[in-house]
Amino acid sequence: MVVPILLGITFLTFMLLRIGDQDPVAMIAGPMADEAAFAEIERELGLDRPFFVQFGIYVGKLATGDLGESWQSSERVADEIRNRLPASLELLLSAVLLGALVGVPVGLRSAQRPNKLFDQVSRFVSLFGFSVPTYWIALMAIFVFFFLLGWAPPPMGRLDLASFPPPDITGSYLVDSILTGDWATARVAAGQLALPVILFSIIVAAPIIKHTRAISLEVLGSDYVRYAKSQGLRPRTVRRIALRNSITPVLTFIGTELTGLLASVSLLELIFAWGGLGQWGLNAILTGDFAAVQGYVLVLALFSVVVFVVIDVLVLLLEPRATLRP
């Protein structure tokens, strides 16, 4: 099932790039180039061949793990992805973890006493998180915490100029520097991470609060919870039953959000000069860097497939009612 989906996405992107009016040849050649130079570059990029031949060649190389070269950096796309993905994942996963740790309990509590003060406040906060654009709140936060208060370091990447990246173990500067006992670098990395992670966790938590609340409300209003209550079970026991039935849909929901978040984290990367996959992908799309766009989209699709598989397995484990569809 995975391969056809990935192939479909690859084909769609491939087609989209070639029917679009972005022209990498003109961008490379520049305004002064003559006909011969154009033809030369076109041949070099392989864009002079028929569409399906181009696609065939691409897929053939893909099968051997060759994603082509970015014409902007002349680096192999696979290397670029390997170098940049950890930076994005570091940002994304810390924010999702923080967002879920705050969002799920808040949503559950909201549902227990609907329309009370706590619920009203948390609903408003969640709606605000839904409504506020990531990039705008990032700009405002930089203005307040960097320009006015000077608490945050300048938004210029993952480390300050005085620090060197730790040895590459997991790819996360924070984790790697802690693992190697380099506390000074760890502190710098954490400082650079703090603002973007907190900002992004607001965006992450908003839908989690909303959906956890809705799911939990539905469960609390269900017949089996009413029955459990009418049986005189202790409130704690009833809450446990409700939690048990809420957790799988909440988990599924977080899973469906993840890939979109990996994409939208690119805006924060752009503003904080993070140097991650998203920033690179955005740039590739804007400059018509075909091989890079293709690679970026493939990584996102692959990521979502992996996430869905993981979530499906978790649901099967957690939910006795779930069965594999024949």
Partner: protein
């Protein structure tokens, strides 16, 4: 006096104000959302009348001024009045939200009805193709399509509508799945209704309920994502008074402390998106009887 007392109390009929009051009492969220969206709609319609200057009228000697009596929201790097520009931005908000919502429904709802009712192969095919579409993060696809097909408002609207259709397919499908085996469907089948009639007359009104609130929520999303595209620099371009494009202009001034260029369009953007979201939340309260039962 006695005459007045003897006349029977007038029957309480239907009045719009009474109804509005009732709705407000049942869901203040809905009322607040409606008011916010209403204000933005008013500003959008009458932007030319109420804004002090034109949206791209320049004052070459008044560049980057902080908010003042003359320029309420300050002036931007081109010496344009931010207040007038922010007000004109409301037009782009509605110009994108409404048509893209219509596209979402026209594509998404019928597919969901058919997939849920027919089940089997049809269901499988519809669901899988929707999966493919959804596994593309919408921001990336939107960005790629708009970057490739050129900078036009129509492209932005089409892409947003198309991308959100699967949400409604899924919602409607799951409702239909739950309703399929209920008594009223069985009796409709037994009395010889054709399939299209069962789908659109019997199932649609019952299955669409859950989607109503989602429409407002997705309109909020449509405004947000179109502004995001403009912020990145595709779609609508700089001197056009669109909020995302204005925040893009303001981004370069943030580090040097000229906050107003980015602040005000962002506040407007948050306002209209919050308005649509409140509307959606309120509709959910008003329409979902299950939730009201638990909300007591």
């Amino acid at each position: 006096m006695t005459e007045v007392a003897s006349t029977p109390a007038p029957e309480r009929g239907f009045t719009w104000s009474g109804r509005a009051l009732g709705i407000t009492r049942r869901s203040p969220t809905f009322a607040i959302g409606l008011i916010i969206v209403g204000i933005f709609a008013f500003v959008a319609i009458f932007a030319d009348v109420i804004s002090p200057f034109g949206p791209i009228e320049t004052f070459p000697h008044q560049v980057l001024l902080p908010p003042s009596a003359a320029f309420w929201f300050g002036s931007d790097g081109n010496g344009m009045d931010m207040f007038s520009r922010v007000m004109h931005g409301a037009r782009f908000g509605f110009g994108i939200a409404v048509p893209s919502a219509i596209i979402m429904l026209v594509i998404g709802v019928p597919l969901g009805l058919v997939a849920g009712y027919k089940g089997g192969m049809v269901d499988e095919i519809v669901l899988r193709s929707m999966d493919v579409l959804r596994s593309f993060p919408s921001i990336v696809l939107a960005l790629a399509v708009v970057a490739a097909t050129g900078q036009s408002l129509v492209n932005v609207v089409l892409v947003i509508g198309f991308l959100d259709a699967p949400i409604f397919t899924r919602l409607v499908r799951s409702e239909v799945l739950a309703l399929r085996s209920s008594g009223f469907v069985d009796s409709a089948v037994a009395s010889g209704n054709p399939t299209w009639r069962i789908l659109f007359v019997h199932l649609l009104p019952n299955a669409i309920r859950g989607s109503t609130a989602m429409i407002a929520v997705r309109m909020a999303w449509a405004v947000r994502i179109s502004a995001t595209l403009a912020f990145i620099g595709v779609g609508i371009q700089a001197p056009t008074p669109e909020w995302g494009a204005m925040i893009r202009q303001g981004a370069e001034f943030i580090i040097s402390g000229e906050w107003w260029v980015a602040l005000f369009p962002g506040v407007a953007l948050v306002g209209i998106v919050l308005g649509f979201n409140l509307l959606g939340d309120g509709l959910q309260d008003l329409l979902d009887p299950r939730r009201k039962a638990t909300g007591k």
